[in-house]
């Protein structure tokens, strides 16, 4: 792919972007060839997002040049970039939640007179051509993360972009959906579209790319053909240290014994998502819950945590420590010792304009039964300092706003916000989605530590290696209920997938 006679479709020379004088990317040279799939990998905070935002016109370079088909350009807005044929599919979806899928697809391309039915038909045909099973009439806010991602991808394809940048496109996709996605990427490549692919999943980068660029601390470390990389080299280059590979991909050889039954869900029903679901969670163990998107995993545990309500009539029972419970608000569940770490941290996990300390302190305030007239700045600062240290949150200080943190550190803030409540049952929903390899290791270590301390831990994940490496027992959910249970010692990826699909 490193053919020097062909003009790169997109090129950056000595690209630097400073935020308040601090470089997020520095002197980066990057080139993308026509029809090339180029992966950019690096830890959170390495500068991947900034680099791609420069390309997509979201931010502007402080110094350096950008060329499209050999011509120097300076896109000021995403629309400018789109006019140059560069589209970006963001990690956190940028869809309008109150509009339908079809309306989102054609947003910005509306005709003077629009007929909704026509838009729906057109959108339906287009989605089908991509083999995306998404109802074009559905309101986006009601879609799961994977389907939102599909709409984002479809929107980029619809704009006939010659360069499409995918930021963590597979983080919320199930294995089947990932396969569709990779087929789509290969189809785009065949049409001459160049693809920039950002992922934390190194295996995916190795699988799909032609070339790989590795960034570290805002600088390009290496760009090379895929054939010259293996997993170990990528990891070592990314993090600049030898990282244990035990966190993803290795099976457990021992499991923790079952403690007291903390949670028993009996015949739970919640609309069409949870159908007569029953399961138990035990103290001192990590219970992994795997299932395809739409299998009702998140909804089941959101009912447990009081975030959504079960069916009004004959909705089943949730029994916490041998006592039936029915929560109308999450605060009651928090007081009873249930913590839910959300899968969508940006929407439900934290206040992005508040500081780390404030966010963590809010978790504590949620637990306190009596309303407080005054909150304590000192207490908030103390909590912030303690948890920044304990969870190794990488930030200049406790006053840094949550939005300014990388994905991995944001996730640690969300976890700290829950752990400060000293819960007995902790539910992690996709705990390492959009989190870099180094932070994944740290979060996994923390989850294991919680189980070792005797807490009942639930990990919901769509990523099988994560389920396999963390769980002591694995529950597989399909069509709204748990259909199979495995000890981590018996489980194989094939068995789990078979149960999830059939």
């Amino acid at each position: 792919m490193s053919n020097t006679t062909v003009t790169p479709v997109l090129e950056l020379r000595r690209a630097t972007k400073n935020y308040a004088g601090v470089p997020a990317i520095e002197d980066i040279d990057f080139s993308l060839m026509p029809g090339e799939i180029h992966s950019i990998v690096g830890e959170n905070g390495a500068g991947k997002s900034t680099l791609t935002k420069v390309m997509a016109g979201v931010v502007n370079l402080s110094s350096g040049t950008m060329l499209v088909n050999g011509q120097e350009v300076n896109p000021k807005t995403p629309n400018d970039a789109l006019a140059l044929g560069i589209a970006m599919v963001f990690q956190e979806t940028s869809l309008v939640p109150t509009m339908t899928v079809a309306q989102n697809l054609f947003l910005g391309q509306e005709r003077y007179f629009n007929r909704l039915r026509g838009i729906y038909i057109e959108a339906q045909q287009f989605m089908q051509s991509l083999q995306f099973d998404v109802d074009p009439t559905a309101v986006v806010s009601l879609l799961g993360a994977a389907k939102k991602q599909m709409v984002e991808i479809a929107r980029a394809v619809l704009h006939n972009a010659t360069v499409i940048i995918f930021d963590e496109p597979t983080a919320s996709l199930t294995p089947e959906e990932k396969k569709y996605f990779f087929d789509l990427v290969i189809a785009l490549k065949a049409r001459g579209v160049s693809v920039i692919f950002i992922s934390h999943a190194i295996e995916e980068a190795l699988q799909v790319s032609d070339r790989i660029t590795i960034l570290r601390d805002g600088k390009r470390v290496v760009t090379d053909d895929k054939a010259n990389f293996d997993r170990a080299r990528i990891v070592q280059t990314m993090v600049g240290r030898d990282l244990s590979q035990t966190h993803y991909g290795q099976r457990k050889t021992t499991v923790r014994p079952q403690g007291k039954r903390v949670l028993s869900v009996q015949n739970l029903r919640m609309a069409a998502m949870v159908k007569n679901n029953s399961l138990s969670v035990f103290a001192g163990q990590i219970t992994g819950v795997f299932g395809l998107v739409g299998s009702g995993r998140t909804e089941t545990f959101k009912v447990v945590a009081g975030i959504i309500k079960r069916d009004f009539m004959h909705g089943g029972e949730v029994i916490l420590n041998d006592k039936p419970v029915r929560y109308f608000v999450p605060a009651s569940a928090v007081r009873d010792g249930i913590a839910y770490v959300t899968e969508d941290r940006k929407l439900e996990g934290f206040f992005e304009t508040k500081s780390i300390a404030d966010n963590i302190y809010l978790g504590l305030l949620a637990k306190i039964r009596s309303a407080r007239t005054f909150v304590s700045r000192q207490e908030a600062d103390k909590a912030g300092e303690h948890w920044i240290k304990r969870l190794n949150i990488r930030a200049i200080g406790k006053e840094v706003k949550a939005i300014e943190l990388s994905g991995g550190n944001q996730q640690k803030v969300v976890i700290a916000k829950s752990l400060i409540q000293e819960p007995e049952l902790i539910i992690f929903d996709e705990p390492t989605r959009g989190v870099d390899v180094g932070a994944i290791a740290e979060i996994h270590q923390l989850i294991n530590q919680l189980a070792d301390e005797g807490k009942a831990v639930v990990v919901i994940s769509s990523y099988l290696p994560e389920i396999m490496s963390l769980s002591d027992r694995i529950l597989v959910q399909s069509m709204g209920k748990v259909v199979e249970e495995y000890s981590a010692l018996d489980a194989t990826e094939e068995k789990i997938m078979y149960a999830a699909i059939h």
């Binding site: 039954r261 015949n267 399961l279 029994i319 748990v482």
Partner: protein, 365 residues
Amino acid sequence: MIKAILRLKDKLLGRGDAAITVPVFDGALKPNNLLEDAAVFASLKSAQDLATDGQNLFVADGQRVLRYDADIAHELHHFEQPVTALACLLEGGLAVALAGREVRIVGGPHDGRQWTSIDGVAFSAVNAISLGSSGKLLVTDGSTEQPAENWKHDLMSRGATGRVCELTLSDGSLRTLATGLSHAFGVCNADGATWVSESWRHRVMSINAGERPTPVTDSLPGYPSRLSPASGGGYWLTCFILRTQLVEFVLREHTFRKRMMAEIEPQYWIAPALNSGNTFLEPMQGAHLKMMGVVKPWAPPRSYGLVIRLNASGDIVYSMHSRFDGKNHGVVAAVECQGHLYVLAKGCTSILRLSIADAERSLQA
């Protein structure tokens, strides 16, 4: 008044006591085939209970009590009535319950002592006897209204007249430890406390003198029966029938249930059974019956085989199963003797024997 309104609300909304829910077999209760694959030690049509003195196995079989020496049965006693419960005494001799209405000591220093009532109420369904602390016996009387063999009637009439009593061997005195139990079936001494199975409430309760009974293990997916000590601490608990949503539903439909009890033969009731599949007139057995991918609610399991190993705190450590498609169902007693577990599966009229070490090894594999 408020309670009545709340009950009505629960009934309308299917909540609280009116929630037709059943706990799931998962974790340590995850089904296996250990019980189904166990060897048949003996086939006895009228076996009712098992006991051990640590060396030999004793079986109450109809009106007889048998002792097994190296797999060979010897008849020890023959009574005028069927033996419904059995226990070996430390000082020698046996305690037996006859037709559920009398507890009698045979052999040993207290030979001939007998009890037929307590607090002026006659025994009706004595179904388990166990050694208590310092020369005492613990006895469960399943119901004061129904005989032992009519457990199904007691379940369907939502009986709650069970009791647990303490009998003193030396002076013949007796004491009621608890009354108003929803079918007491199985008792044991647990470090000074008395553990009793309360079948219709799917739990094992701990009774301490002067304290309120507390649940040891609750929300069981089956109806618990007898308890016996296990080596290395902890206990064996058997579940003789299984809970299903259909039965839970029937138990809440009073009019239907009363009519069913009045008009239909007990063996054809929509109720759990010790065995199933004997006639097409029975409600359908087969939890696996599916149509259009949906398990049909009219075909829940009727019978099942389950033995649960509890630790000293009452937590479930592991379990042994004979599943819906098996035959070793209706397990009413399990005793440990010489490294083996002897299990009385009344549903198939067999005593099963399995090596505990082998079973634990296969569960860890």
